[in-house]
């Protein structure tokens, strides 16, 4: 278990991470959400020991993370980069050896990963000859080749096409099933929603929401309601309990305080005409993010 207790990082007068406390369970995928400058990368760097925290405590399996554990940890930095002049093979065997792997073992692993990503021909190519997306795959391999127990991925899916995103997602899910604890950051809500059991939302270094996805959604309370009807539903915008109103072609999409409001609306529209659709939905993570982070802007 990775534990952060009231971790704070200050750069001069600027507080990048403020009193962050988290528990990241074993063998799980944990999502970090946050806009630009929210403190995700700084937090990761502190977990890895690249930056010293100003105050607080970080421990993994009860101890601080240091270079003696580096063979158990995988890291994909947000800023992608490899040696442009080296071949994929030289590059990854070097990086894998720094993570405590043997040379032959590293080459074997590398080949199986390249096969998995359907690019076995890249083995002896120089990195600068590859496209950005393919470089990113190679870099992903560098983070996971040594089968880490803790994997930190900083924006792993940014800049990839949908096919590659799927490929990487599958790989991440497989790793989790093999027992790797994964922490990853993203500003794409759907990825976090799809992959993570637990997550936290950071905003300007502060933790806005934290916990399991289901709980976060439940405690958020608000629900989404779609009403498509043959008659005008404009009057619903002023209906008590409606927090957001968005008119669409066939009707409207609403955000409501709680489930009970939908009961009221259901009664209100009865007898007015034909209702094509009346659907109550859980809020999406996107809604929650906007509600929480947007609120703190005010």
């Amino acid at each position: 278990m990775l534990q952060l207790k009231e971790v704070t990082k200050k750069f001069g007068t600027h507080t990048a991470v403020d009193q962050l406390s988290l528990e990241i369970p074993e063998r799980e995928m944990y999502g970090f959400l946050g806009g630009n400058g929210a403190g995700k990368t700084t937090t990761f760097r502190m977990i890895l020991g690249l930056l010293d925290k100003t105050s607080g405590d970080i421990s993994w399996e009860g101890k601080a993370v240091n270079y003696e554990k580096s063979h158990l940890i995988g890291y994909l930095p947000e800023e992608r980069g490899l040696y442009p002049k080296l071949t994929v093979k030289d590059q990854l065997t070097y990086l894998a050896r720094l993570r405590g792997m043997g040379k032959t073992e590293a080459i074997k692993e590398l080949k199986s990963w390249l096969d998995r990503f359907q690019v076995p021909e890249y083995l002896n190519k120089k990195v600068e000859e590859l496209s950005k997306g393919n470089q990113q795959k190679i870099q992903f391999i560098s983070a996971v080749i040594h089968k880490p127990k803790l994997l930190i991925l900083d924006e792993p899916f940014s800049g990839l096409d949908p096919v590659n995103v799927e490929m990487l997602k599958e790989a991440v899910v497989d790793l989790k099933e093999q027992g790797t604890s994964i922490v990853f950051s993203s500003h794409r809500m759907e990825h976090v929603e799809e992959l993570c059991e637990h997550l936290c939302i950071l905003h300007k270094g502060k933790q806005v929401v934290q916990g399991s996805l289901r709980e976060i959604k439940r405690s958020f309370g608000k629900k989404n309601l779609s009403v498509y009807a043959d008659f005008s539903v404009d009057f619903l915008s002023n209906f008590p309990g409606v927090t957001k109103y968005k008119s669409v072609m066939e009707g409207c999409e609403l955000q409501i305080e709680n489930e009970a409001v939908s009961q009221g609306i259901f009664t209100a529209i009865q007898g007015k005409g034909f209702v094509r659709k009346f659907e109550l939905e859980e809020p999406s993570l996107n809604d929650i993010f906007i509600a929480k982070v947007g609120a703190s802007y005010e």
Partner: protein, 416 residues
């Protein structure tokens, strides 16, 4: 420490396998080969074609002795008597039939004089030879007129006996000094080149890893301090490989050569000096390299683009250039006061203290003190460098000023 060796090995092999390394090494080897065969090469190019000089002799007696003397001193010059008019002779020179025309006559005191005509008068060696030989003739005529017999003249011309003996028995003899000067010169040059070339290499290497952003992966798997020192030592080994290759090739070529070439190199003190000077050379060389390499790695970690690496190591380059200039000027005045003072300044010590050790007889405590100061500075710089490196490698920005030093230190600081 295992990671240290992996990084070191990686730094070494990628460098040694790189095209630029192979090419520069080959070019230098060709250069060394050319240098050791310089005599043969000069012989090949001066293909025995002699400089033809037309001579118009108005005295009818100067030509013969002059021609003899000139051809004796320089067999590449041939004098021919020109039987036609001066005008025609000048024309022949213009048409490059002759290299020059010399007009011999006597002045009112019956002493030889000459006028020299050539298409250009920039080729001074020809002029000088002719002038010198004519001067001798003139001396001969003048002394003859004054009634001095040839035996007296020979006595006058004989060089004076001028022996130099140092009274302090441990002081270096003239011969030893010349040899020491040779070794000091070679060592100064070697250190200068090494610092410039390999210091640059380290700074660029670090900047490359930063600019390609591979640095963050590297320092998440091995500590920046390990990384920095593995890099410094790795590059040092690359340099050592190159130097050993050059020296080895040079040595092999020289020993395979004739005596004349060997003598030339013996003048530089190679092969005949005492062992201690070589040991000092190695000690000062290694310490000097370490000092500047640490500085280069530290500076390199501050920039985020390869282009800026050149700029930021400028101050370091200045330091070594200044050290080199002081040392060169000190070659002729090794006991000057400022040489003594600068030899204790750590950035200058490797060159200037070595110069003093080689050229003078210095008390051991002075050498020990300077080495102590040097080692101390290296340690301080290494600690500071490691700190800057740790913060610097995560620091990205456009600027490349020394202000970043403060920022980098702040990044690596533990605020506890």
């Amino acid at each position: 420490m295992n990671k240290f060796w992996i990084i070191l090995g990686h730094t070494y092999t990628t460098r040694v396998k790189s095209k630029s390394f192979i090419i520069t090494t080959l070019i230098t080897l060709v250069f060394i080969f050319a240098l050791t065969n310089i005599k043969t090469i000069i012989d090949v190019f001066s293909d025995g074609e002699k400089d033809q000089i037309a001579v118009i002799d108005e005295t009818d007696e100067l030509f013969k002795p002059l021609a003899e003397n000139v051809e004796q001193t320089n067999e590449d010059i041939e004098l021919t008597l020109y039987e036609d008019t001066e005008e025609k002779a000048k024309q022949a020179v213009e048409e490059e039939e002759y290299a020059a025309l010399i007009l011999l006559s006597k002045n009112e005191k019956q002493l030889p004089k000459a006028t020299y005509y050539a298409n250009s008068i920039s080729e001074s060696s020809l002029q000088t030879t002719l002038e010198q030989q004519l001067q001798q003739l003139k001396t001969m005529y003048a002394t003859e007129q004054a009634g001095v017999d040839p035996a007296t003249l020979a006595m006058i011309n004989e060089p004076v006996v001028f022996d130099t003996i140092a009274l302090d028995e441990s002081a270096k003899t003239e011969e030893e000094l010349n040899q020491a000067r040779g070794i000091v010169y070679i060592m100064l040059f070697l250190l200068y080149m090494t610092v410039i070339v390999y210091g640059n290499m380290i700074a660029t290497d670090v900047a490359t890893e930063k600019s390609s952003r591979v640095m963050e992966i590297l320092i998440s798997s091995a500590s920046p301090v390990t990384h920095m020192f593995a890099k410094i030592i790795g590059v040092a080994l690359v340099g050592l490989t190159q130097i050993v290759l050059f020296l080895g090739a040079g040595y092999a070529l020289i020993t395979a050569k004739d005596e004349a070439t060997k003598e030339l190199f013996a003048q530089f003190g190679i092969g005949s000096s005492s062992a201690s000077i070589y040991i000092y050379a190695i000690v000062f060389f290694l310490l000097g390299y370490l000092l500047y390499a640490t500085l280069a790695a530290m500076l390199g970690s501050l920039v985020s683009r390869i282009e800026d690496a050149q700029q930021i190591i400028m101050p370091m380059t200045f330091l070594i250039v200044i050290a080199f200039i002081i040392a060169i000027s000190g070659l002729s005045t090794p006991d000057a006061g400022f040489i003594k003072i600068t030899s204790f300044i750590p950035f200058f010590t490797p060159m200037i203290m070595f110069l003093r050790v080689g050229m003078l007889d210095i008390p051991v405590w002075e050498i020990a003190l300077s080495i102590g100061l040097l080692v101390g500075t290296i340690i301080i710089l290494a600690i500071l460098g490691a700190k800057v490196y740790r913060g610097g490698v995560l620091l990205y920005g456009r600027s490349s000023s020394l202000k970043d030093l403060k920022k980098a230190l702040a990044l690596s600081k533990k605020e506890k």
